[in-house]
């Protein structure tokens, strides 16, 4: 791994972890409780940034996969696989924190409303991404198949976004990105934005490390190392 990638990754992860720690302090001691929901609303400061990071990661996977299919560029495939792991991890955080909030707010862990269902399906599609990638004998073909799965899966994102408006949905609507501006208390907005920054920095740091490792893994062994290996065999 190059020194530049190591420094960039370390700086981003450190900044991300520090910002997330600050967010947790704000959540515990600073931000006021929401009047109707009480303490449970604080899950929002983890759930929403996890969802944002998941969709950012899915967007990177779709874009990198399209570039890989178009140009057969190995760097694009390495970026796609690094982001896809982020999508799976942050997606899992989103899918765990959502039901924890729902149990108190809705009285049930899960309900088959459109946004939840489509998000779960997106997560399963990314599980399929890794399964197809790892189970095809020809790695070149496996990468291509995985890129196709990622592009087909990403078509789900606009549907998830509009599902709250299109269908009758229990899921709360947007409170920040609205035509009339955010309708959130200023302290809550500050906590949410800090958390968003923390999650994004952490994801970008992990992405940088993972991308560098993936590139390193694909680099052909130097001739001397290959000969040494053969001698051992």
């Amino acid at each position: 791994m190059s020194t530049r990638a190591r420094i960039a990754g370390l700086a981003l992860v450190t900044a991300g972890v520090a910002t997330i720690l600050v967010t947790h302090w704000m959540m515990a001691f600073w931000v006021p409780s929401e009047a109707a929901q009480g303490v449970v609303q604080r899950i929002f400061y983890v759930h929403v940034p996890a969802a944002w990071t998941t969709f950012l990661a899915v967007g990177i996977v779709a874009l990198a996969s399209a570039v890989h299919l178009w140009l057969e560029d190995e760097r694009a495939d390495a970026a796609a696989v690094a982001a896809a792991e982020g999508a799976l991890i942050f997606g899992a955080i989103m899918l765990i924190t959502g039901p924890l909030w729902g149990r108190i707010a809705w009285g049930t862990y899960w309900t088959w409303e459109p946004r939840l269902t489509l998000t779960l399906l997106l997560w399963f599609t990314y599980l399929g991404y890794f399964l197809i990638r790892g189970s095809v004998a020809d790695p070149r073909r496996g990468k291509r198949f995985a890129a196709v799965v990622a592009i087909v899966g990403s078509l789900n994102i606009p549907l998830i976004h509009v599902s709250v408006e299109m269908f009758r949905s229990l899921h709360p609507g947007p409170v920040v990105i609205k035509p009339e501006g955010p309708t959130l208390h200023a302290d809550m907005l500050a906590t949410l934005l800090t958390s968003l920054a923390g999650f994004t920095l952490l994801f970008l740091g992990l992405f940088t490390f993972r991308y560098a490792v993936e590139r390193l893994r694909r680099r052909p062994l130097p001739a001397a190392a290959g000969e040494a290996g053969e001698a051992l065999i």
């Binding site: 299919l69 269902t117 399906l121 997106l122 399963f124 599609t125 599980l127 399929g128 399964l131 197809i132 189970s135 095809v136 004998a137 020809d138 073909r141 291509r144 198949f145 890129a147 196709v148 799965v149 592009i151 087909v152 078509l155």
Partner: protein, 225 residues
């Protein structure tokens, strides 16, 4: 020769192979009849009348049977190396995909008809609603199933996970088809007005057309050697 004509030639070839060998079709037919038979025994008819769950079971049986059969459309050619020769002919990849999808679709229609007959008989569904309305729901639904199954069936042929991978890839995408199809069929069975069903049928058509176009556009990436 137009691309559609070429696609139709591929469909005819696949269907001829299908009816000559009969293995895939026979196993799908046996599956739907046995599934209907087992559902009839698994339900406590005193608590849950068959009519109440018939629509959901019809769509699930069609889904399972079509998924089990979808990947097999490439099997015979793959084993004999004939698929590579097919790709060397001057037929475009979208035409190959369309041809394979149409062959799959015709097999799925046969299976669908048999599923409908066997499940309504085994579950004792007496008033079956309008046949035209059922066809109007099943047609776009089965097109979506055939296109998605053909597309991902091609992928699963190259995977060491084989048939176990196909449901993982297709089921998340087919949830809208099952939901819209089963709720529409349930309404047709209850002879509800068409206005209650038409919205879902429009969405089923959107899925069908979308899956055929996306499949045709991306199929090249599944066949480049």
């Amino acid at each position: 020769m137009s691309e559609l004509r070429r696609a139709w030639l591929i469909t005819r070839k696949d269907l001829r192979l299908e009816f000559r060998t009969g293995g895939r079709l026979l196993s799908m037919i046996a599956f739907v009849v046995l599934a209907g038979f087992l559902f009839a025994f698994a339900l406590d008819h005193n608590l849950v009348p068959g009519r109440d769950v018939a629509a959901a079971l019809i769509w699930l049986v069609i889904l399972f049977a079509s998924t089990a059969g979808a990947g097999r459309i490439f099997d015979a050619e793959e084993e004999e190396g004939a698929f590579r020769h097919l790709l060397l002919t001057p037929v475009s990849r979208p035409a190959v995909f369309l041809g394979k999808t149409m062959a799959n679709l015709i097999v799925i229609w046969l299976v669908t008809a048999l599923t409908f007959i066997s499940l309504t008989a085994f579950l004792d569904v007496r008033d079956q609603g309008s046949l035209t309305a059922h066809a109007a729901v099943l047609l776009p639904g089965t097109i979506g199933l055939a296109a998605t199954g053909t597309f991902f069936g091609r992928m699963s042929r190259h995977s060491s996970l084989g048939d176990t991978l196909l449901p993982v890839l297709t089921f998340p995408l087919l949830v809208p088809v099952i939901y819209l199809g089963a709720t529409s069929t349930a309404r047709v069975l209850l002879e509800r007005p068409w206005t209650e069903i038409s919205g879902s049928v429009r969405l089923l058509w959107a899925f069908a057309v979308g899956s055929v176009f996306i499949g045709a556009a991306l199929f090249r990436h599944l066949t480049d050697e």
